[in-house]
Amino acid sequence: MSRRDYLLRKFLFSLLTIFVVLVINFMLFRVLPGDPVRSVIGRNVRISAEMQASLREQFGLDKPVFPDQFFATLQQWAGGNLGVSWSLRQPVAEVLMSKLGNTLLLIGLGQVLSIVFGVALGLFAGWKRKTSFDVGSLTFSLIAWATPTFWLGIILLAAGSTWLGLPTGGIVSPQNVGKPLYTVLPDLARHLVLPTLTMTILYLGEYMLIMRSSILEVLSEDYILTAKAKGMSHWQVLWRHGLKNAMLPIVTMIALNLGFTVSGAIYIETVFSYDGLGKLFHTALVRQDYPLLQGAFLLLAVSVIVANMLADILYTTLDPRVKAN
């Protein structure tokens, strides 16, 4: 099978997966207990029973789930339309896109930093096995990995705002809203310090631990011994033969994490009042806002699948054995 056929098959299979996810989600949200109209309005006493009936009709909820609601929704999706959120009354695609930017900024930064530091720590810890550096970074990573997000966030928030004068929440200061982000970079950066730091600490441990065990395994391989015997320096062995082979599990890890982190880091967002996708997913679920829920889960499914596809493709480059198969 040529590489093109392989990718094409992957792509078609992904499309099928997305469709199946959409259908399952459609059904899943509709078997949730409760009445979406009641959830959307909350306990707002302004809405009488008559008006709830009127909204139910407008949302198409007065019709049976199958076939009416199902085909109406399919038809809408087929037209590339995700519908209008019931609670926010804005097009779902627009709402998702506006939060996606915020989330990618935070998650992207946090992931890049935790990958860089995690991989570096793991690599050196593995290389310098059983030294105090190894024990120290291993202990730190285990603690970091086991720390509850919310707790770490709150502690950093209290410390950072009290002693460093860092902001207590938001993405930019109120006086800078409405301005394009690149014009207020210092302010933006000040707001990103604490959430990014929290995120980095939390993920760093995971990457470090995987990298360490992976490099330890690679370093015990015969070809490393061969490389050393050929007279290569420690650094050359580590860089050229160790790192590249030890990266495979890390790539899988990154792909999985990146896929799921689009769902937002809800705890971090909540602690730092950072308006990302995680909070939006939560709101959509609490208010049983079907169009928004469906759109949000579509985005989540697509990003997990795309991240996995990217990992597959990267594998063909990193590992010749995958290419051969």
């Binding site: 004068g165 109120p174 006086q175 009042s273």
Partner: protein
């Protein structure tokens, strides 16, 4: 290599940020911007379709209504200067104040107000959030530039309250919509109103709203130059922001943090009697309800109800659950409504006494079993005690109540239930025994009383107890049409007494509104039942000299 440069760049940015100077307060009228931290953000600013309280906070600042509630609970004119009602109670005439201008400089006319009210009446499927307030309205007419007439189908006793909830919008913004859906999909994030503040910036992705004082406001310009609303997603961060001075006002202080906030330097914490109540709901659905009630039938026994009420120490609940920030509940109408006018002060609550509760049950024939649970024949006093899982106060309250009940031979099993499921369980399924829940009341008693009417116990209605009493329903209709306030008061008091004796609810407490502000920077707040951030209070706030 490029990647390395990028990472270094990002790192540099992050590190440099730590050293950047602290953010200065937003520039407005120098130093007169009040920065408000709150725990939500408006869903939309369209009064036709807004459900979150944050939306209504904005409406109060940006829009005006014909009348408004004074701190005393009386209704005073806002857009209206004076008003009168015809002898038969069917025609209300409102005389508008002179010199009212929209934010765009145009003058407000009675014609425009009439357009609003007629739109609410004729397109009620569109203006869903106004429907309850215009039931019984026939038509509005402008007699001249400043005189408005509203014709009614029948006399409406709480007309002044009803119009205080109808925000008058700029007709041109709302004229073009042909379907209810189109109208509701209009987010209206740049509203034109006649209120004391106008929105200058609204960023829904950063969740910040900045309002400027309206210099042409008919009641004089607000003393503040600007209001800045910033959203926090958790109350700990909000309290921290207040402590370090990132915000000047915290719109919500959690009960558990109130005592701590009181100790902050330069901060004043306020506790105001509000309009909310929490209650224990006792399944009171009629036996012939469809679907058939699923409950322990013992819950309908008046003796059991009285015993439960006697076994609950409400003062303890207030002291422990609310940390003293509230008062024990009696009737369904909170004592703040109408400045106390609607609260039946003749009601005396049953005294807490476990001995007395035991005696009542003994006398009613419930015999203590060997397992500590009383029973009469095959009727065991064993109940589910459910509460919505999104409340932080109810788990504690449920534990305390279960403990007291346990001491009188009633076994109550507390369980947190997701609020959506609880709605369905109470109405229409009548599938529960005891539920702890709460209400935020309107300033007029009409709504709270309506919750107990038979007609509200249907899908989409607001009754959760299933209480059904034709005599009560009769009184309810009567109070809606009684124009004489004192007459109406008598009926409202009688209804409260009925509910108190039949016990579809055991009202546990009325909780306080807890807020805090930087008193080293701002002064002039006025207490309203909704908080010190009512728009009339914010008009009066000024920087400390």
């Amino acid at each position: 290599m490029k990647k390395v440069v990028f990472v270094l760049l990002v790192l540099g940015l992050v590190l440099s940020a730590c050293g950047a100077p602290a953010a200065a307060p937003p520039q407005g009228d120098s130093g007169s911007a009040l920065r408000v931290g709150w725990l939500g953000f408006p869903d939309t600013l369209n009064p036709a379709y807004a459900f979150l309280t944050e939306s209504y906070t904005m409406f109060d600042l940006v829009y005006s209504t014909l009348t408004t509630e004074a701190p005393s609970g009386e209704y005073v004119g806002l857009l209206a200067e004076t008003w009168s009602v015809s002898e038969d109670g069917l025609v209300w005439t409102f005389n508008l104040r002179p010199n009212i201008k929209w934010h765009n400089g145009e003058a407000l006319t009675a014609e425009q107000v009439a357009w609003n009210i007629n739109a609410f009446i004729t397109n009620s499927d569109g203006w869903v959030t106004n429907y309850s307030y215009i039931i019984g309205f026939v038509e509005a007419r402008a007699l001249d530039e400043r005189t408005l007439e509203i014709e009614l189908e029948y006399p409406i006793s709480n007309m002044e309250f009803r119009v205080a909830f109808l925000y008058i919008v700029y007709p041109k913004d709302f004229e073009g919509f042909t379907t209810p859906e189109d109208l509701q999909n209009f987010a209206n994030f740049s509203p034109i109103g006649t209120g004391p503040f106008k929105i200058s910036t609204l960023d829904k992705d950063r969740r910040v709203i900045i309002l400027d004082a309206n210099p042409d406001y008919f009641d004089g310009r607000a003393k503040l130059g600007q209001l800045v609303y910033q959203t926090f997603d958790n109350s700990d961060a909000l309290i921290q922001a207040l402590k370090v001075g990132d915000v000047d006002f915290a719109a919500e202080v959690p009960t558990s943090a109130f005592k701590t906030v009181e100790t902050f330097e330069g901060v004043t914490a306020v506790s105001i009697s509000g309009r909310s109540l929490s209650e224990l709901i006792l399944n009171s659905a009629p036996d012939d309800h469809d679907p058939a009630p699923n409950r322990n039938p013992a819950i309908t026994d008046p003796a059991v109800r009285l015993a439960i009420a006697t076994a609950i120490n409400k003062q303890d609940l207030v002291d422990v659950v609310l940390q003293g920030q509230g008062v024990p509940g009696v009737g369904i109408i909170p004592p703040t409504l109408g400045g106390g006018f609607w609260f039946n002060s003749n009601l005396t609550d049953v005294q807490f006494s476990l001995d007395e509760a035991n005696r009542i049950l003994e006398e009613a024939g419930y015999v203590m079993g060997t397992d500590g649970v009383r029973a009469k024949d095959d009727l065991r006093l064993e109940f589910r005690l459910q509460f919505p899982s999104d409340s932080s106060n109810y788990p504690r309250a449920a534990d305390m109540i279960a403990n007291w009940l346990n001491q009188v031979g009633i076994k109550a099993t507390p369980a947190a239930v997701d609020p959506d499921s609880l709605v369905v369980a109470t109405n229409p399924n009548a599938d529960y025994d005891l539920v702890i829940w709460g209400w935020g009341s309107d300033p007029d008693p009409d709504f709270m009383l309506s919750v107990m009417t038979s007609e509200q116990y249907e899908e989409g209605g607001w009754s959760d107890s299933g209480y059904s009493n034709p005599a009560y329903d009769e009184l309810f209709a009567q109070q809606q049409m009684t124009l004489d306030e004192n007459e109406r008061q008598k009926i409202v008091w009688e209804m409260q007494e009925m509910l108190f004796n039949d016990r579809p609810y055991i009202v546990l407490w009325y909780d306080d509104v807890l807020q805090a502000y930087r008193s080293d920077r701002f002064t002039g707040f006025i207490e309203y039942p909704t908080g010190i951030d009512a728009f009339q209070s914010l008009m009066n706030v000024e920087p400390v000299q």
